[in-house]
Amino acid sequence: MTIAGQEVSVNAEGYLTDLNQWTKEISLEIAQQEEVTMTEKGWEVIAWIQEQYRNEIPLTIRKVGKSGVTDIKEFYALFPNGPLKKASKIAGIPKPVSCI
């Protein structure tokens, strides 16, 4: 699949399958599709999420709230209508499986 002029591999739901292929341009296009407006804070959250993924720490809303980067209320405002899923998609990591 081509996103932002680059050939990337994605799964059936449009999540990147290889974080190494991620670029800011790609995530901007995904954000647009997901109707998310990226802000400076939003990028900080994305960087934090990618770091968790690289350290193999499963993502939960609670962990985002304790990240020191943002709080839960702001996280919902930054990525409206499904923050964990949308932020993961924009960050280029797999869809989270957590219910928390």
Partner: protein, 161 residues
Amino acid sequence: MSEAKAAPVKKILLILSKATIENVYACFILANGARMEGIESEIFFTFFGLEAINKKKLQDLHVATVGNPAMHIPTILGGLPGMEALATKMMKKEMDKLDIPPVDEFLEMLTASGCKMWACKLAMDMFHLKEKDLYDDIDGVLTVGGFYERAAGDGSQLMFI
């Protein structure tokens, strides 16, 4: 999938009537899970469910060890002193491993997520509770009729716990 797209769930309204920890958590996880999916959620706390937002009680909720066949222990043992506390402690330990927060923190998470929380007026009168006795960030006190009004619109689902 096409069916799901045709009539998506837009709002989940949960009625929590019990205060055993498994019921409270089921309710909170469903409400929080809805918000995580971009679905609106609201909780109506009634009868014993009010304990989950009662400042004096909410940190001391227990799992039921008597009359609960899923505990797989004889009822007579479940009734022994300390049994509920022990089972509750074990359950809380397992929940912590899964990053499930304690009740007070969970209430804060729900507020931050935009979940609306209402206390049942009749149950409050019955248990002689005032608003000051309840978790500070609830959205208000409602009658049954008032809660049903909030379920108006396509895509709303009511669940009783």
